[in-house]
Symmetry: C2
Subunit: 305 residues, 2 copies
């Protein structure tokens, strides 16, 4: 039986949210269409946050109105709270994601709530989303290291994951928000979580800040994990901050899967077209760690080897 | 007991050999001195190949005459054959390395010999080096994939490793010369080799062509391997060839070790000075996958965390 990985593409939301160049609705739809053409079947499309806080995603409702949710691609929307959920619901989103930072200070700095308050908001939002019949993902941000508190205790993450799971989350996503994880830490945290929730209800979200994202993805695969977030071209991170790097690039993850005998369902050659499109949309060079080689003409699809 | 990795720095030889900017002898000595100051204790210093074939390393004898081999750093020299060995011996090299490509076509294209002929040359060179009292390493190049023959059968590599070991090689170095390996293949090949030779007599040499070097290093660590080649700043590869990328960068490997709780003995902050020096020598930007982050001011040495 083929061994498969499941990729949730996050470029349209996590990738775009901090980009200084405002991408038009048509541009976002073209990006999503290109991702679908490459074989992507799960996409974080946008977020229903305050348009003032994230002007890039102010067109969330218009975007959802234009998505075809009948052709086998799952589109999710990030919602910060019940108000965001209501907007997502009105816009027709079928799958939503909530985010909880794993530390006290990160919650205070980011959303001016204590960890307990933020957890309560997430639990209530998940409960309401489930009542509305939506598939619900819960992100645990800064799950490995917090920029304010340092290394995060895995027991805390395990406890918070259980609180979100108990609230009804269909999937827990462990996020290395600042790209600080190493493969040893990935294994140490994912092993007990996989034992608790299994590979269909657990996912990871890596950033490549320290150049460790591919190694971390491999460590996660080795643990048995099969669901990943990634962003085409590595789009994401803050383009102004020195040292900030983007998300785990989808092309790197697909190549890792191919080199490991795993099926991703994504056509790397077509995905390179998506990188070019994304570059034109954000008006800067993109591309993961393998991009230079992939575009050198030396890559051959598995079917042509 | 501390778990330690052993890094053999290859920038002065493998890193420099294809660089278009000719680096002076003083420049090479400064590079080596900077590496030593960062804590590197094993350095591939040069190669005794034809000065016509590799003008960059024509000063091999002068370089060795200037090296202090009494202060705890092991310097090795690559030698292609007995003639090279004689030159290395006269220059005072105590440790030499021979290279055997694992495929018929690579040997024919590279040195105009069959695999059998090339193996014989290596065996004879190793035998003579041992008779001269030298520590001897044997590289198996294109051990995962050959640019002409494709994927290399692990049984072939295991057989050639044994032939080199039987000839007297103190250490076998498995080289992913074109950076084509993935972590699954690394594990599949290193596991039996580690069973045969143990971790003190086996090393790996990765290139980062496909962005997999850090993941491959992690896979090797997971197998139990502890000896690695790497090149500061990722120096190496052919700077003209599109899609060619350098060696596994020493800073990436040291960071991976630190993130995995392994001791390397190398001071990353000082090593960043070496990257800057190497950049000035080859007159182009260098730096591994973690370099941007390491130089952002966010990195803290373990002692300061």
């Amino acid at each position: 039986m083929e061994d498969r990985i499941y990729i949730n593409e996050v470029a349209p939301r996590d990738g775009l949210q901090n980009q200084p160049v405002l991408v038009s609705l048509e541009g976002k739809l073209a990006l999503i269409q290109s991702l679908c053409a490459a074989g992507v079947r799960s996409i974080e499309a946008t977020s229903f946050v305050s348009p003032k806080a994230v002007p890039q995603l102010a067109d969330a409702a218009e975007l959802f109105a234009r998505l075809d949710q009948t052709h086998g691609v799952a589109y999710s929307a990030l919602v910060p709270n019940q108000k965001g959920l209501e907007r997502a619901h009105q816009a027709g989103a079928r799958e939503i994601a909530v985010v909880l930072s794993a530390t006290e200070t990160m919650n205070l700095r980011n959303i001016n709530m204590s960890l307990t308050q933020a957890l309560t908001v997430c639990q209530e939002t998940i409960g309401l989303a489930k009542a509305l019949g939506k598939r619900t993902k819960a992100y645990l941000a800064v799950a490995f290291e917090c920029p304010f508190e340092g290394v995060v205790d895995s027991a805390t993450v395990i406890r918070l994951a259980e609180a979100l799971h108990s609230a009804g989350a269909d999937e827990i996503v462990i996020a290395d928000t600042i790209g600080a994880a190493g493969p040893t830490g990935v294994r140490a945290l994912l092993t007990p979580l996989l034992a608790n929730y299994g590979r269909t209800a657990l996912s990871v979200h890596f950033h490549d800040t320290r150049g460790m994202a591919v190694a971390n993805a491999w460590a996660a695969l080795e643990c048995g994990l099969r669901k990943f977030d990634s962003s085409v071209g590595g789009l994401g991170g803050c383009p102004f901050a020195p040292g900030a790097a983007g998300n785990l690039a989808t092309e790197d993850l697909v190549l890792l899967a191919e080199q490991s005998g795993l099926v991703s369902g994504i056509d790397l050659v077509k995905l390179l077209d998506t990188v070019v499109l994304a570059e034109s949309l954000v008006q800067r060079p993109l591309g993961g760690r393998s991009y230079r080689w992939l575009t050198s003409g030396k890559y051959k699809p598995a079917s042509m080897r």
